[in-house]
Symmetry: C3
Subunit: 448 residues, 3 copies
């Protein structure tokens, strides 16, 4: 359960004081060991809030990472459109999570507010200038910001898979539903204290399933309904459409890696005690090392298999390692983290070609990275963390069913009404000229 | 008034203690509610300083954002020059703000020092190793760093508008005067506790006017004196010179968005109390949501008007939303923030074509974004914040007159002496080869 | 000596308490001045740990900076390979520093553990969930993360110099030895409390010698053994191979600049007292100003010498300024810092052409920037800091001998066994197609 407000709730003040020996007996002859970890209540509040703020801006930065990764991996003629989709989806996520998403995700939080749409007007909504949320032990606004950027991340995953062949307007409408309803419902089951959390002890620390698999299922269903890019699979052959700008994709990978320290680290939800900040530190190390493991295994496997160390596989290896460790980045040892990341990286190397066999066209490899590695990371918590294999499996399956069905309905409605794809002429010419009217590299791109 | 030193000043120690119930009566039977927000004096000092450091490095990072935005929006043949200008202007701003700027901006701070040039040698200048500035409640060095990066931001705004047609040397000389004198004088009137602050109650939390409009006026006057790029306006037609690298401009937009959390958030100037850190959190949310609003409105308006969702307008919509909320990012509700950002975004969509009518050639749209949205953001504080419309208007106008006149004088002197523009041959060939001697994309750019 | 564990060690608890007047006598009538700097033990622990975490993610981000700088400065046909090398070297550094490097670097730390390979299993290794390392005064995991990213930085330096002509596999094997053994041995002499620290009072605050010169020597020896790129020096002429993507290199420079605030600032190793956080602030200012000085001098010198303000020299001027101040970023005044950075920048302007005279082919100028400016920065500590010229010289020379000899042995073994360079055909065609199988700019790059 991730919601800090539910975790701490009404007992926050007591808890803060209890964890502050200095306040329990500041003038007493407390043992040195006890005094050494003393943190006052207000100080803990500031640290907790600061963790959300730092984590929040790091995860916000991941929006740039996805944008660069995707802009680098699509063809020149679709690059501006991909940039627009990434700027737009983050903004839509912000508005939708404010209007409705947060209250769906954290129903306990909305109590006393005016129903689903209450965040804008609830007593908990946003405190007045100079005031603080002492009952929660951190600023609610900082938590909201942190939760919002997770919502945006989910949408980013979808945009990569469906690149180069979906029109802007239906894509943005899907994002509106995904960030306003589909994702928040999944969150409510677990971090919001709902069914998966209470009935199954499902454990998903920072969102291998809630964020990454949710985005992955929505992308997979979308890819199947949308179909492959024109000319991608012809006469039983797979035609490779290489990305335009590999250094940009590299940059995107590094941005995502950096942002993940906020994604996983700040999901500790508190650093106002010596134990919490030490846990955040361990999460940093494990997160980093899982990514290192994913990279190294991807390089080794592609070198062995193809005699070439594939740079795009190395990138996806890093991301798969990160997704894999996200369900439980705290409990594993460093060795376990490396192993979990390595297996995540190996999954990507083997499943990217597999998708092509089924003619599922995933432009950036988001389905192997976010969905397959996300499932792997979630299930392995039964080994490293405090969860059962059955509980984890139920969480994976329930998310799969809900997100797939809900997404499919939205995709089909969009397809039946406004249509999802541009005409074959536009797709062949590239979406940029028709959809956004701005060429990405007018001085550089080769004439056709 | 923004200077933390003036805000806290000599009463800092008392204030810190007063806000620290634990110190007022650490062993007493303080009520739980009181103890829950206790922060000791030294802890508050560290938090305040840390806010300046984090905010400072985020705003420093905006220098990269402007560089990428501008490099992406100029033509390939002028890209290296634009990169050089951005690296250079940040460095000049650093030196000038140290030599003279800071003392002009904060005259109260320089008291007891050796006049205008005293920062390098004042008692307040920089404390010794291991010492602290207990009388201010934060490290003066951290505050200086935070103020310096604001100074650099102002210069960044100018470089975008004047791109592709100004020689490097006169540009750098202008930047020297702008960062050493013109900008610091504006700051002195408000954040330095001067005329606008004391006589008019002018309110500009993080610099919609002081930073963004100042840069915008200097850019506007420069654009008029410099004239348009060759071939931009011919036979009553506006010829579009599309930018070379849209994903790079997208990256720049995301960098600026990220940096703005430091720009606005750390302008709270303190996070050593539970109230301050909660305010910083609210600023994060409002800043983010104003940008989201600016993006969404720009996408909707361009889609409706041109049947294409213009990606460069979406970028400028984000930036306009950010500039609009900068004058007062704390007091508005989230709904108000979204609305303020949306109107800022709409202003950009409607005024970018307007400038072309007057044949004012603004390469990246910096005048609509930083000047027009900056004025809008400043005036609307009369609605959301603690200021009068008249006071805000006076601040806008006084800044307009000072910056325009001072800039015009410098531009005219430079034009009369060394000249501002390269020859028509050089401009047509691109500034890169002649001015910096380095082509930006030698392996990629199309042969003419 | 940099190891926080050695610096604080067993007296940490006492020290924390001693520095916390509030705990020594919380209820007593302590003078206001004393109380104003009070920080409790647990709070100091959190601050110290947070410094490592923030510094750590900023230095991790430098890996992206090196990647972008190098990707921008190589030719299009070798860009993907350069990206792969940078992703891979960071990952290898992570694994090697975990497996063996850290224990070599900090032997005192490994006491009680199972020898060199003990980090994975030592009592100090990683504490349990929710536990803290009260005996050290910070989370050991956070320190480990911070040290690991320094190790990766050292390897990054090598990859730039040797670009465009070294095969991927021998490069990665060299990185494995460099990050696992060569670099950690140098660290052990100084930050690990060894010979240079105890016998010579050698002073290297954040690593002008330990990190930058170590990388520089390994690069220099590698460049000599590897030889120049084909066609670089022909008939007594130096043929310039211009970089493909100047804005990307600009981005890399800004990323490195940003990361350096973590590199130098967090090398204070503590911010749990008002004095420490004030010192971190001073380091931020000095670091920033040395870079500004390096840029401005590089622009002035190239403008005077070549009548063109060279943008790549401005970048290297920034980096040289940063490297120069790294050996002692705290003690100098701001004026001294600017001067140190300026001389560093001037060194680069004059030594880049010098290397070409000796036909040493350094693709990105890493040897002037990291080695020459690193030596300069180390020696000048005798003026600004607490060290003797002789002690600094011994540190420089000892590092030179060890790193050069060890690197040469590894390079020669690799050359003799698997070979270092691809065939002339492959080098001429570009390494990308053969080594990683992925073209960097397939839609953009000019046909040969």
């Amino acid at each position: 359960m991730k919601s800090a407000i539910l975790k701490t709730g009404a007992v926050a003040v007591t808890a803060l004081l209890a964890s502050s020996p200095a306040f329990a007996a500041p003038a007493a002859d407390a043992a040195a060991e006890v005094a050494a970890d003393a943190v006052s209540g207000g100080t803990a509040y500031i640290f907790n809030t600061l963790l959300f703020l730092i984590g929040g801006f790091l995860v916000m930065w991941m929006a740039a990472g996805f944008a660069m990764l995707e802009a680098g991996l699509v063809r020149a003629k679709n690059t501006s459109t991909q940039c627009l989709k990434n700027i737009g989806l983050y903004s839509i996520a912000g508005l939708m999570f404010w209007i409705i998403g947060y209250n769906i995700a954290y129903p306990g939080f909305a109590e006393g507010s005016s129903g689903l749409f209450g965040m804008a007007g609830t007593a908990y909504g946003m405190q007045g200038v100079g005031e603080a949320d002492l009952e929660t032990g951190y600023s609610v606004a900082s938590d909201w910001f942190f939760q919002m950027v997770f919502c945006a991340t989910t949408a980013s995953i979808v945009s990569g898979t469906l690149a180069e062949r979906i029109k802007i307007v239906p894509f943005f409408i899907f994002v509106t539903v995904l960030t306003g309803v589909i994702y928040p419902v999944v969150v409510s089951w677990e971090w919001g204290g709902g069914y998966l959390d209470s009935a199954w002890g499902f454990s998903d620390f920072a969102g291998s399933t809630l964020v990454h698999s949710t985005g992955g299922w929505a992308a997979l269903v979308g890819a199947i309904i949308l179909g492959a890019r024109l000319g991608r699979y012809t006469d039983g052959k797979v035609n490779v459409f290489p990305g335009t700008n590999i250094p940009l994709a590299t940059l995107g990978t590094f941005i995502l890696w950096l942002g993940w320290f906020g994604f996983n680290g700040a999901s500790q939800l508190a650093m106002g005690t010596v134990g919490d900040v030490s846990d955040v530190s361990k999460i940093f190390v494990n997160t980093n090392m899982a990514a290192c493991g994913g990279v190294v295994i991807a390089i080794i496997l592609t070198q062995l298999r193809y005699k070439k160390a594939d740079v795009t596989m190395a990138m996806n290896g890093a991301l798969a390692g990160l997704v894999s460790i996200t369900a439980e980045p705290l409990a594993p040892t460093v060795g376990q983290s490396i192993l979990i990341g390595m297996i995540g990286g190996a999954i990507v190397v083997f499943t990217v070609p597999l998708l092509d066999k089924f003619k599922i066209d995933d432009v950036v490899g988001a389905i192997p990275v976010h969905l397959f590695a996300g499932i792997w990371g979630t299930l392995i918590v039964a080994w490293t963390g405090d969860a059962t294999f059955m509980g984890q499996l139920v969480g994976v399956l329930l998310t799969a069913v809900w997100v797939s069905v809900a997404s499919a309905i939205v995709w089909f409605i969009l397809k039946a009404t406004m249509g999802l794809r541009p005409s074959a002429e536009i797709e062949t010419a590239g979406l940029d000229v028709h959809e956004t009217g701005v060429e990405a590299y007018p001085d550089l791109a080769r004439q056709a």
